[in-house]
């Protein structure tokens, strides 16, 4: 029996150590949870593109600049509801980097924004590395009533710096403060004072006075033996101390900080980006998702209204991009944080000539549909998809066509 217990103890100990090792190796998030979101959220609401992170290796105190664009698709999923309020946010496992600036369409933005369907928002976020380590970071568009729509992400490695991290700002009263610890000692001191006073009150009643006899006396309702004149004088004294400290403290505080403002709450109206000249029109006529082949196929009727021949260069949805290798200078950018879905197969794959209208069959095939958990589009309450199609000419001009609310029919065989 003893031997059995011995083995059992070893087994429990070993299991505990193994579990501890597994848990400790996953203490911090290794991703930002984009795959956990339903495909409907990622494909049919907001689409990020041209997102770039200035670096993936920083020292504490160095800046990370994130730039990119996010388009709100022109047709919003009915089942999600559109609040019209959004907030461009940065995703990280706690403030490993602090945010210094957010600029949207050239305007600095502190608060949430009023968002319009079909609009594109050009954003820039400037952050400063604060805590050493390797952290998954990314951009999100938080939409009120829906939650975060996750954009592309990378892993950033932050190395320690010889100088301690500070986050200074100057107040409008001329004081320069470090936000890392500003006001903390005051809050701690004030809280500590009240804890001491509270313990003093408890000490009088719970330590100096035996509790057990009071239970019996209270049951017998012997009030005068339980609450004496001295107790009441002590209570009066404590009440006076509390009132003097509270209102005296507040009065002195108001003299110390005569200029204060309330917390600021507002929504920002963002001016739209200037309209780009449109030289391509395109419309999806039919879409099919081949489950076994992991392929999204759709027919596209394209009209080139410009003076140059144009190529279908890229199809992108939910941070997964498929590139057309036949388009000139269309290699996968080395600094792209998006997921490379593979080659975009287009039939016919010749450029669209000026004035020409033709139907293209587009095939976006790859494991990314499964890996990124986007193949569930045919399992959702509305089997539809959305995304962006990028057309471009040889001169580098670009037109982006949004696909929104497009039915997709699954083929299971």
């Amino acid at each position: 029996m003893k031997i059995k217990n011995h083995y059992l103890n070893i087994l429990i100990l070993t299991s505990t150590v193994i579990i501890a090792i597994i848990v400790s190796s996953h203490l911090y998030a290794s991703g930002i949870g984009e795959r956990a979101q339903e495909a409907i959220l990622r494909m049919r609401t907001a689409q990020f593109y041209d997102v770039r992170f200035s670096s993936n290796h920083l020292k504490v105190g160095e800046d990370l600049v994130v730039t990119g664009k996010v388009m709100i698709l022109p047709i919003w999923p009915h089942e999600l509801g559109f609040s019209g309020i959004g907030y461009i946010n940065f995703f990280e496992p706690g403030p490993r980097l602090i945010r210094k600036e957010t600029v949207v369409n050239g305007q600095p933005v502190f608060s949430s924004m009023i968002i319009k369907l079909g609009d594109t928002y050009d954003f820039k976020e400037v952050l400063t590395a604060r805590r050493p380590g390797t952290w998954p970071v990314g951009v999100t568009m938080n939409m009120k009533d829906i939650g975060p729509i996750v954009g592309p992400s990378i892993k950033v490695t932050i190395d320690p710096s010889s100088s301690p991290f500070t986050n200074t700002i100057q107040t409008l009263t001329g004081q320069t403060i470090n936000l890392e610890n500003y006001g903390l000692s005051r809050a701690m001191g004030w809280s500590f004072l009240w804890v001491v006073l509270g313990i003093g009150w408890l000490y009088y009643w719970l330590i100096l006075k035996p509790t057990a006899p009071r239970l019996g006396l209270a049951f017998l309702e012997k009030e005068d033996e339980l609450v004496t004149k001295q107790d009441q004088r002590f209570g009066f004294l404590f009440l006076a101390i509390v009132l003097v400290l509270v209102f005296g403290g507040a009065f002195i505080t108001s003299k110390q900080f005569p200029i204060v403002v309330p917390l600021q709450k507002t929504f920002v109206r963002i001016d739209p980006l200037p309209k780009e000249p449109t030289f391509v029109e395109a419309k999806v006529s039919k879409a099919t998702y081949y489950v076994q082949q992991r392929s999204l196929d759709f027919d596209l009727i394209v009209t080139n209204k410009g003076n140059e021949k144009v190529y279908l260069r890229r199809f992108q949805t939910a941070n997964v991009a498929f590139l057309n290798p036949a388009a000139p200078d269309n290699q996968w950018p080395a600094d792209s944080p998006e997921v490379n879905g593979g080659e975009l197969q287009i039939t016919p794959n010749e450029p669209i000539l000026p004035g020409e209208t033709k139907q293209l069959h587009v095939k976006a095939q790859g494991a990314a549909w499964e890996v990124e958990r986007l193949s569930t589009i045919y399992k959702e309450s509305a089997s539809r998809f959305g995304g962006l199609i990028f057309f471009g000419d040889a001169a580098g001009n670009r037109n982006i066509i949004a696909i929104a609310d497009q039915f997709v029919v699954p083929v299971f065989q």
Binding site: Y87, R99, I169, W190, W201, G235, P262, L263
Partner: protein, 249 residues
């Protein structure tokens, strides 16, 4: 024979008293920890972010939710301590316990794990409010007066007591092309990925008269609500102390 020895031996009597004191101390520590857990559960569920973040502690919701969320458990424990032993300590016991626990929990979890600076998430204190309400009970020894003046003692002292800590964070700064308070800028700077700015429910609502001072009406409103909470949760505390719950059936 042994009992007689104890009764007649001053040394044993003294030792017995010491042991009794120690048992009493341990018992109150256990009771304090238990009611702290209860207070933490009810308070954090009700007050939530207003308790957590420096840029949520506004003039409108913070004084109302702060008072209400704490009073629920504090009043019940006050009632239990008073009814069972005429000890005016229930509120202070909970308040001290939860304040110590909040500092510890936020330091370990939010600073230790996530690196949020403690000046962004230090807890408010309700210890002065709790002592004041306990004193009102002790001095009045009447239920109605405790409901009325205890609730108001709690509500009226809540914001001034915390203003000492949060006032420095209301100084203005110029950032992102606008005037912000330091608290706003801290909230912006130390990113909360899961709490977008539009969730920050502050300063919005009616109460736009009284020369724009929302704070006064908010404090008095919390006092009025506090009276009803006092009545309801005193009754709940009273019911919880009844022997019927431990009787054999």
């Amino acid at each position: 024979m042994q009992t007689q020895t104890i009764k007649t031996s001053p040394e044993l009597q003294k030792e017995g008293l010491e042991v009794g004191k120690r048992i009493q101390f341990v018992a109150w520590v256990i009771i304090g920890m238990t009611v702290t857990v209860g207070t933490f559960a009810s308070q954090s569920l009700l007050e939530g972010d207003w308790s957590f973040w420096i840029d949520w502690k506004d003039r409108r919701y913070f004084p109302i939710l702060g008072v209400i969320s704490y009073m629920l458990m504090l009043v019940s424990v006050q009632a239990a301590c008073w009814i069972k032993a005429r000890l005016p300590v229930g509120m202070t016991l909970c308040a001290v316990g939860i304040n110590l626990w909040q500092w510890f929990e936020r330091y370990v979890n939010w600073w230790g794990w996530f690196s949020y600076p403690m000046n962004e998430l230090f807890p408010e204190t309700v210890i002065p409010c709790a002592i004041a309400a306990d004193c009102v009970l002790l001095l009045s020894r009447k239920l109605l007066l405790t409901y009325l003046f205890g609730a108001y003692a709690f509500a009226l002292t809540f914001y001034p007591a915390n203003w000492v800590m949060i006032a420095p964070f209301h100084q203005p700064v110029e950032a992102l092309g606008q005037t912000l308070s330091i608290a706003d800028y801290i909230g912006f700077s130390y990113v909360r990925s899961a709490i977008p700015e539009y969730l920050r429910m502050i300063e919005s609502g009616t109460l736009r008269t009284f020369e724009g001072g929302a704070l006064g009406p908010a404090i008095f409103f919390s006092g009025v609500v506090g009276i009803f909470i006092y009545a309801i949760f005193w009754w709940i505390g009273d019911q919880c102390t009844r022997n019927r719950w431990v009787k054999k059936i």
